[in-house]
């Protein structure tokens, strides 16, 4: 029903704010949002309700069944089963939960640390700035995958290890971004006025500078979720990521690697899941950047 037509033909429930709302919604990137919703958010939150089978328990007699459209497959296991008879679809759904948890925690913690350090660094300048920026440089020059490999060899694969590695790698980008913005903002008049009025450093950083940095942070975070998922799956692939008990997408691709010639679905579908998720996250990130802060075009 065309909402742009005159108000006389609008139904009784089409109050103005719904009309406005609908027009706003049309401007949003629906397709990537939909993909994200179905691939990441809903599975992650509602996994036990949505998954058709148990992702951890399989029946050995049902192992390596192909997807339902191939000979030997069945609608019981739409995307087939893996080496141990576990349903692929259910594992992918639970895998969303794993990926989302890991990346959100890593980005959240890394983001907080990075933002705090970036604010301090940009605001105070001088030696503090120099030290923090050197730390940033070192952190950015760490060969990520190698260090993860060595760390996991030292401490063993676990949720904690992977998240720690990711945090160590992520915070620096936030710090650098926030520092740059802080440098620009702190020269502005209203900051000077606040200083004169006697506001403490913390207050200035928290109340005046931080809100202006939030937009960029959101864009960076969204773009980073995809990157983190890729990194975590690469680490899991190399055996330096999450413990095998978790149905992480990267672990699944790695498991299916030796079966690529014969049971292609064990690797393909988790890989596809990674790709679609990261793709839509990047699209979202791009859209956010275009709408929130075009200055960040070169991020």
């Amino acid at each position: 029903m065309p909402l742009q037509s005159s108000t006389r033909t609008l139904p009784w429930y089409a109050v103005p704010w719904i009309v406005d709302g609908w027009q706003k919604v049309k401007r949003y990137p629906l397709i990537p949002l939909a993909i994200l919703l179905f691939m990441l958010v809903i599975p992650a939150i509602f996994a036990p309700l949505v998954a058709p089978h148990d992702a951890f328990q399989g029946s050995l007699s049902h192992r390596l069944m192909p997807p339902f459209w191939q000979e030997g497959g069945s609608t019981e296991h739409i995307l087939g089963t893996d080496k141990l008879g576990r349903d692929m679809l259910s594992r992918i759904i639970y895998g969303a939960r794993v990926s989302l948890t890991v990346s959100l925690i890593a980005i959240f913690v890394g983001g907080i640390i990075g933002t705090a350090l970036g604010l301090i660094s940009g605001y105070f300048g001088g030696w503090t700035d120099a030290v923090i920026m050197r730390l940033v440089d070192i952190s950015l020059s760490l060969p990520t995958i190698l260090l993860a490999l060595v760390l996991v060899a030292a401490v063993g694969p676990s949720f904690g290890t992977v998240i720690t590695v990711l945090i160590v790698l992520l915070w620096a980008r936030y710090a650098r971004l926030v520092r740059g913005e802080t440098l620009a903002i702190k020269e502005l008049d209203f900051i000077a006025r606040a200083r004169v009025a006697g506001a403490s450093h913390t207050r200035i950083m928290g109340k005046y500078i931080f809100p202006n940095v939030v937009n960029s942070l959101i864009v960076l975070a969204t773009l980073q979720v995809g990157y983190v998922i890729l990194l975590e799956s690469a680490l899991s692939f190399l055996g330096a990521g999450l413990p095998r008990a978790e149905p992480a997408w990267g672990v699944m691709v790695s498991d299916g690697r030796e079966l690529i010639v014969t049971a292609w679905w064990v690797s393909m579908f988790p890989g596809l899941a990674i790709m679609l998720t990261v793709l839509s996250l990047n699209l979202m990130g791009d859209w956010l950047r275009d709408h929130l802060d075009p200055k960040l075009r070169n991020l």
């Binding site: 050995l60 192992r63 060899a153 063993g156 055996g239 095998r244 008990a245 690697r257 030796e258």
Partner: protein, 537 residues
């Protein structure tokens, strides 16, 4: 402008396509000049005294040993030694060497000096050879004359151990002393001289090793192909792909891929004998009186728990699925019928004690104090090494069986080194791990795995310590047999571990190139006797 660029693109694409298709497609020619075997990889070095037994695969074609192994029966047969005998107390072993054997590259005739030299390499300060502890008990290697040499031991060396070490199963590789004197260790690194049916032609680290046929081999047998290459391809999928595309002619594949390899027409050759076995070891079972590391609250300490875990596993199903039916049940870890101390009653006892019975398992766990409100929890540490990929599959499968009886086993992937450190330092009381290893004489196996002196601490107790102490002292075959059998009985009855399967070494080959390959299996490198490969004519 747009059309100009589009045509430029098109041109580039066509050029790329031309380059790609100009590359010659690999052919399936037979008979071949160079036979290529794809291996999962090994520690690459010519310093054989630093190489573990399974990785002696890389020396198989060119470095020989005193005693050989019959490819069909697995019996010990003459190789570089034609005859051997021991003194009644087994402290002296005399080997009579084959006359007229020439080293490659003109380094002269093989004599007893070379035997002395080979042994001296194995006991070097930097030696990490598998059987070094055995070779270190040799007091002296004396050359009686040019073709006779005597090994004098501090303690009696039983035939099973001596022949194991001196044969193709062991690591005493006969290398040229003349070359060592002339070129030192660099010569050995670069172009080692051996006596085998092939000579070493060179290697590219991470890529391959090349061997050339030795037309003057002492056996007089003619190898059907001129060159042999070991191509290193650590990924299973890659090895299968290489086989299917004809890039290699033989490769070993994990059992996972056997069904499909056969479906695609590849031919399977298995070793004549079973050679590797897999059991799952449980940590923390240190029952020797006075052992401070012992924790009575550790998960596996209660015998009922161990029994329950054992009978919750459907071994037949596991065999059919994860191992594709290509294995035999192990009735007691370590032992095959030809091992010292084998008890023919173990098979029937096994069927009684270890039969699949999940209901009984749940009952036993309840008696041990576990139940739905208080489930038994422990970790399962799995690992994978190139060429040994079954570990995680076993771990996952067993975790499922355990789950069915209410046990929560958390599967964790670690690397092998970490697991070893943990069980060596007795930090393993909360986890179990798969032990995939090759056959060795029973007394060596017991000493490695069930005795406090060994490095693998999972199950130990006073009975085993005492009994094994007597084995070590005895040289009487019957007495040793009885004692070792008593040890085996004890291990089986106490549910000391979770025995699973014995399996043979299996490789796949291109049927258009390879027609037959008979090899025993117990050779150090598993795949061996490459000189016996018969090609399609």
């Amino acid at each position: 402008m747009k059309t100009k660029l589009t045509s430029l693109f098109a041109g580039l694409l066509m050029a790329a396509a031309a380059i790609l298709t100009a590359a010659p497609a690999p052919g399936w020619a037979a008979p071949v000049k160079r036979l290529i075997f794809a291996s999962a990889g090994f520690h690459e070095s010519n310093r054989f005294w630093t190489i573990a037994r399974p990785d002696h695969l890389q020396f198989e074609p060119f470095w020989e040993t005193l005693v050989g192994i019959d490819p069909k029966t697995g019996d010990y047969i003459p190789a570089l030694a034609t005859k051997w005998s021991s003194s009644p107390d087994f402290r002296e072993w005399t080997f009579h060497l084959r006359k007229g054997v020439q080293f490659h590259n003109g380094y002269g005739e093989f004599t007893s000096q070379d035997v002395v030299h080979a042994h001296s390499l194995l006991i070097r300060k930097d030696s990490t050879a598998t059987l070094r502890p055995f070779w270190a008990t040799v007091e002296e290697v004396k050359p009686l004359d040019k073709y006779t040499v005597v090994f004098r031991f501090k303690n009696p060396a039983m035939p099973s151990s001596m022949l194991f070490g001196a044969s193709r199963s062991g690591d005493l590789r006969m290398t040229s002393k003349a070359q060592w004197d002339k070129e030192g260790i660099e010569g050995l690194d670069k172009q080692p001289a051996g006596t085998g049916p092939f000579q070493y032609a060179g290697r590219k680290t991470g890529l391959n090793i090349l061997f050339k046929r030795n037309d003057n081999h002492w056996s007089g047998n003619k190898v059907e192909f001129e060159e042999l290459e070991f191509r290193i391809a650590r990924e299973e999928a890659t090895r299968l792909a290489l086989l299917l595309s004809g890039d290699v002619h033989i490769a070993d594949l994990p059992r996972e891929l056997h069904k499909d390899a056969l479906a695609k027409g590849l031919k399977r050759f298995q070793s004549s004998l079973a050679v590797d076995w897999v059991s799952v070891y449980m940590g923390g079972l240190w029952f020797i009186t006075g052992d401070k590391s012992f924790d009575p609250k550790a998960p596996f300490v209660n015998k009922k728990v161990r029994q329950a875990l054992n009978i919750s596993i459907n071994r037949e199903e596991l065999l059919k699925t994860v191992f594709a039916g290509r294995a035999d049940l192990a009735y007691v870890s370590l032992w095959v019928p030809t091992s010292e101390g084998w008890n023919s009653k173990w098979e029937s006892r096994f069927k009684e004690l270890y039969a699949y019975n999940p209901e009984k398992a749940k009952q036993l766990l309840k008696e041990a104090g576990y139940g739905p409100g208080n489930p038994l929890k422990f970790e399962f540490w799995a690992f994978t090494e190139p060429g040994e990929s079954e570990g995680p599959a076993i771990a996952d499968a067993l975790a499922i069986y355990f789950r069915n009886v209410g046990v929560q086993a958390e599967v964790q992937m670690h690397d092998w080194a970490k697991i070893r450190t943990a069980y060596r330092k007795k930090q393993s009381k909360n986890f179990m791990w798969p032990n995939i290893i090759g056959w060795r004489p029973a007394d060596q196996g017991v000493r490695n795995f069930y005795i406090s002196k060994g490095n693998n601490h999972h199950y130990e107790d006073d009975f085993l310590e005492k009994t094994f102490g007597e084995v070590a002292k005895s040289t009487d075959a019957k007495k040793r047999g009885d004692l070792l059998q008593a040890i085996g009985n004890h291990i089986q009855e106490e549910y000391a571990d979770i025995p699973l399967f014995w399996f043979r070494n299996e490789v796949f080959a291109n049927p258009k190139v390879v027609s037959n390959w008979v090899y025993p299996g117990p050779a150090a490198g598993r795949s061996s006797h490459f000189e016996g490969i018969k090609l399609v004519q």
